[in-house]
């Protein structure tokens, strides 16, 4: 069998595969450290029962949707109070409620976000808590 322009096609394929595989090859062998988010902030330390507005498993998987819903509720519908599944009430505010407990943005938020290479732009507007440069 003869492939017309076989050389060119082969070369093109090699270039394509090379480009497509570049991110994998580039990172190969470099194991990124497993994220290790911390919740050891002063406010959390002082809590009698250390729990978030919803269970940890839920928050881990769904905090982004929850924050989206909160945002729309507060900004668009004027609803500001969140009544959780356990009946506890919270002011829906990333900047004032979430970050009040989780004042360690670097070790709590960025740890996983960096690992997952997601860059939520919440902090372009919302002011992150003051932290010591580490």
């Amino acid at each position: 069998m003869k492939i017309y322009d076989g050389g060119k096609i082969l070369l093109g394929l090699i270039v394509f595969v090379g480009l497509a595989a570049f991110p994998f090859l580039y990172n190969a062998g470099k194991a990124a450290a497993k994220p290790d988010p911390k919740t050891d902030t002063p406010v959390i330390q002082e809590m009698a029962e250390k729990k978030c507005v919803e269970p940890k498993e839920f928050m881990r998987a769904g905090h982004m949707q929850m924050l989206n819903n909160w945002r729309d509720s507060v900004v668009r519908d004027g609803m500001r109070v969140y009544v959780s599944n356990t009946g506890s009430r919270h002011d829906m505010s990333l900047q004032n409620t979430c970050m009040n407990c989780h004042s360690n943005k670097k070790k709590f938020c960025d740890e996983c976000h960096n690992y997952m290479a997601v860059k939520p732009y919440c902090w372009d507007c919302h002011i992150a808590p003051k932290e010591k440069e580490s």
């Binding site: 919803e54 269970p55 498993e57 839920f58 998987a61 769904g62 982004m64 949707q65 929850m66 989206n68 819903n69 945002r71 509720s73 900004v75 668009r76 519908d77 004027g78 609803m79 500001r80 109070v81 969140y82 009544v83 959780s84 599944n85 356990t86 009946g87 002011d91 829906m92 900047q95 004032n96 732009y121 372009d124 507007c125 919302h126 002011i127």
Partner: protein, 263 residues
């Protein structure tokens, strides 16, 4: 609160595993929890303001109102008038009420600064033209700006006949003084439009807008639909003007001009 915690976790877990992702979780969350308005929130059908121009006497009186607003909302001080961001500021009579100026007029009015801000129109042109409903009118008459949704097309700025809207031509953060920063309120990012929101975040906590509080009684804030409100009493007894009322947008900011006991 129709399902218990265990079931809740199970559903959340399963939907994650199934990769159905957020919408399902969010829906279940919606079923299991609820959102409510703050009980202390001020309630009204049509918020409005009456600015008693006579009561604002010195530059410091204006400054207090402007600073109160700009400080709590992290409004940047860009310095360059072309890129300026402002929610409330002053203009002269002829610029506030173009078309109503006269060749010969009362000197006290002619040289008086007038406080200008978003008019929270009854029929807002900005909300009409917004292609994403980032700006819209709420049930309480407040014209809201959702800075999360704005795509920065600036159609609203072309539509607003009051020049009340500002655009973030660049990142505003470097232009907010660190020591003045209000940690409880966000800043904005580049590329979105912003304006006065009648302090929706304060109304939700039962507080009146910051400028009203700082005005020492010169600005009356209230429900225009409520005949017994203080603002309606002011409008009943004093002569007021609205900016460009002839355009039909229905501004909710009234200017008390002369007359009455303050003439």
């Amino acid at each position: 609160m129709s399902i218990n915690r265990r079931e809740f976790i199970r559903i959340a877990g399963i939907s994650t595993i199934l990769g159905l992702g957020g919408s399902v979780i969010a829906d279940k969350l919606g079923a299991a929890s609820e959102v409510l308005p703050n009980e202390k929130a001020l309630k009204g059908k049509h918020w409005g303001m009456a600015i008693d121009v006579g009561k604002l006497k010195t530059d410091a009186d204006y400054r207090k109102c402007i600073d109160a607003c700009h400080d709590i909302h992290n409004v940047p001080d860009i310095g360059n008038p072309k890129e300026e961001v402002k929610w409330i500021w002053t203009e002269s009579y002829e610029h506030t009420f173009p078309g109503l100026e006269s060749k010969f007029m009362s000197e006290s009015v002619e040289h008086k600064p007038f406080m200008v801000l978003c008019n929270h129109c009854e029929n807002p042109a900005c909300a009409r033209v917004c292609p994403t409903k980032a700006t819209y009118k709420r049930n309480d008459g407040l014209v809201m700006q959702d800075m999360h949704r704005c795509i920065g097309c600036r159609f609203c700025m072309a539509a607003c006949p009051f020049g009340a809207r500002s655009f973030n031509w660049r990142d505003p953060r470097p232009f907010i003084k660190k020591e003045k920063e209000n940690k409880e309120y966000p800043t904005r990012m580049k590329g979105v439009v912003e304006k006065c929101t009648f302090c929706f975040e304060r109304l939700a906590k039962g507080l009146k807008p910051a400028c009203v509080e700082a005005s020492g009684g010169a600005i009356v804030f209230g429900d225009l639909e409520d005949p017994d409100s203080e603002i309606r009493e002011v409008l009943r007894t004093r002569y007021t003007l609205r900016r460009k009322a002839e355009l039909g947008t229905g501004p909710s900011i009234y200017y008390v001009i002369g007359g009455g006991e303050h003439a």
